[in-house]
């Protein structure tokens, strides 16, 4: 708990300080990074801590985005728009989770994929909300006492939600609920034998992640002002999956790094060539081939090489095996 607060405060300070050292263009891009980081963290929760590999996580992002885009025609207050995005995507997560969580592994992956693709096709075909052309809006975050218009304020707006999401996720992961979830991932049979209702844990995590992805989708509309059926696409779901993989599965902060690296790469490579999709696919294949836990683990290895701690016994991949006390024996 104490550590969570310290880490969160550090993050908050660095986000507050960032605009003073970077250019406006990078700031604009970082706003997107923060929003996508929330999205990636929510997938990271169910994948890295729940073992549920989802190819349909873009469904909740899309629902959140459409909720804000559609409702913003009638109301502007974020106190209605964002909770609506969270609640609607959470409800959808509950409904689909009840079906999907009955299955494991590849079956889960396929069902979530099928559900999302159905939504994608539905939004593209139907005449509601712009159909295939998408739905443009002009909505600014209205805090009630002021309206945020400048890119800088939008950055802080996204940053605030990012920090809040990170903190809540950290609490979730460290709570008995999160520990139980991880237990289910690691040994479901034992958890059942110990009397845990494993499906309940998975569904709670799934709904939580869905709501968070909905929040990210809602924030995304404030930045782009445009909701399109593409938000539901497999392409989107894969994008966020790749972010989680690049950053490092099984950590909270990994997906955040993944989102950052991915968006920067995307922006720079897209200016050079049209073949971003090809490069992204190859990148993804390479990461799967050399799956060593993503960038975060790479950083940890480097960190431990630079500052070797005598009290830790570390294996080749950088994971701590045991802590040693001063005489060199395991604690």
């Amino acid at each position: 708990m104490k550590k969570s607060i310290i880490v969160t405060l550090l993050l908050a300070v660095s986000i507050c300080a960032l605009p003073f050292v970077i250019s406006p263009f990078v700031l604009f891009m970082l706003t997107e990074v923060l929003i996508m980081a929330i999205f990636a963290m929510s997938l990271g929760l169910i994948m890295g801590f729940g073992g549920l590999q989802s190819l349909g996580h873009s469904a909740f992002f899309g629902i959140g985005a459409y909720t804000v885009a559609v409702l913003s025609q009638y109301v502007t207050s974020i106190y209605i728009l964002l909770p609506a995005a969270i609640i609607l995507s959470g409800i959808f997560a509950l409904l689909t989770g009840l079906i999907a969580v009955r299955n494991k592994g590849i079956f889960f992956l396929m069902i979530t994929l099928a559900i999302t693709q159905m939504l994608f096709l539905f939004f593209r075909q139907s005449d509601l909300w712009g159909g295939a052309d998408g739905l443009g809006t002009s909505v600014k975050p209205n805090l009630g006492f002021m309206e945020l218009v400048s890119p800088l304020s939008l950055f802080y707006f996204a940053g605030a939600f990012f920090i809040l999401s990170y903190f809540v996720l950290r609490l979730f992961v460290n709570s008995p609920l999160g520990k139980g979830l991880k237990g289910v991932m690691e040994n479901e049979g034992r958890m059942i034998a110990l009397g845990y209702n494993v499906k309940k844990y998975q569904i709670i995590a799934y709904v939580f992640a869905g709501g968070l992805a909905g929040l990210a989708g809602g924030l995304y509309i404030f930045k782009t002002q445009f909701a399109s059926p593409e938000l539901f696409s497999v392409h989107m779901a894969t994008t966020v999956l790749i972010m989680v993989f690049i950053g490092g599965l099984g950590t909270l902060f990994g997906p955040v790094i993944g989102a950052g690296v991915f968006i920067f790469l995307q922006n720079y490579i897209s200016t050079m060539t049209d073949r971003w999709s090809l490069i992204m696919g190859l990148l993804f294949i390479v990461i799967v081939l050399y799956n060593r836990g993503g960038i975060l683990q790479l950083l940890q290895i480097v960190g431990k090489k630079l500052m070797p701690s005598k009290n830790l016994l570390v294996d080749k991949k950088g994971a701590t095996i045991i802590e040693l006390n001063e005489s060199g024996k395991a604690k």
Binding site: Q53, L55, I99, R102, N103, K104, G105, I106, F107, L109, M110, I111, L113, A114, I115, Q117, M118, L121, F122, Q125, S126, D127, S233, V234, H235, T238, L241, F245, R275, S277, L278, M280, G281, L282, F284, I285, V288, L289, N291
Partner: protein, 286 residues
């Protein structure tokens, strides 16, 4: 009544194309426990290669054969150099095939561009027959026939031949089959290639009916996944029934309920999975 017959036949045609795709997907899963998400890309790649050959004046049937071989070779390379490296690690294999969708999809976009393309109907089958007042293209009947022939061949292959016996045993217990002295890796590769070839045939045959366009592979893939989920993984019989069901629902849904036709398929899937999570013919416990 005419409309009913024509719709049923159209639905069957679409269903048979999906069957060619889904049966490969299902068999590969049954044996290797992986879902080859790039299966739709094989389908699309097959039809693009055939298009390239036919638009340069090649005979349809020769192009069908050559593009099937082409896709099989592609599948062989991918299996040999990528997928087999993760023998026994299903999650990585599935993710690999996911990456392949983007690579293959972008390469086809690069070569053939983003326009809607279609393969002309082979001249020998380019006429229609009349159903009282409506008419129905004979080519579609031909596709239905091919689908049924494939199903019969699969049935014969599975139940009457020795290779089919080994594969059936492999679905139940792969390790035991290996212990009996059969080369598991070879069987895996063969089944994977066979599935890819079926997908390519489906792709070429669909060229004159569905055409080709970018990101089509996702549509085909998802419909096949739904079929496989409804029919039951690892069972081509399930794929056959599921494909006919989805084909007919799609065909009638588009006419009577155009707005929600895509949701209709989904509703059927949910209902089936609620009552039988393994699908209609599935033996694999999920």
């Amino acid at each position: 009544m005419d409309l009913f017959i024509v719709n049923t036949l159209s639905g069957l045609t679409y269903g048979m194309l999906l069957f060619l795709m889904a049966s490969g997907l299902s068999i590969v899963f049954g044996l290797m426990r992986i879902i080859n998400l790039a299966h739709g890309s094989f389908f699309l790649f097959g039809s693009y290669v055939a298009y390239a050959m036919i638009s340069r004046g090649m005979n349809f049937w020769l192009a069908l054969l050559l593009s099937t071989i082409c896709v099989t070779v592609l599948a062989l390379l991918l299996e040999k150099f990528l997928i087999s490296r993760f023998h026994g690690n299903e999650a990585s294999q599935v993710l690999l095939t996911l990456g392949l969708i983007f690579v293959i999809g972008d390469i086809t976009l690069w070569i053939w561009g983003g326009d809607f393309l279609s393969i002309p109907v082979p001249s020998i089958l380019d006429f229609s027959f009349a159903i009282s007042e409506s008419s129905f293209p004979i080519y579609r009947l031909f596709v239905i026939a091919i689908g049924i022939i494939c199903a019969v061949l699969l049935w014969y292959f599975e139940t009457k031949t020795k290779v089919g016996m080994i594969i059936r045993a492999g679905v139940d217990d792969m390790e035991m089959v290996g212990a009996l002295g059969f080369n598991i890796k070879l069987i895996f590769s063969a089944v994977f290639l066979f599935g890819a070839a079926l997908a390519a045939i489906g792709g070429v045959l669909s060229g004159p009916i569905l055409g080709m366009y970018p990101k089509m592979e996702f549509e085909i893939l998802v419909n096949s996944l739904v079929i496989v989920l409804i029919g039951g993984l690892g069972s081509w019989k399930g794929a056959f029934i599921g494909a006919i069901l989805i084909g007919i629902i799609d065909s009638f849904g588009k006419i009577y309920l155009p707005d929600v036709s895509v949701l209709l398929i989904f509703v059927v899937m949910v209902i089936v999975l609620m009552f039988k999570p393994t699908g209609l013919f599935g033996r694999v416990e999920s």
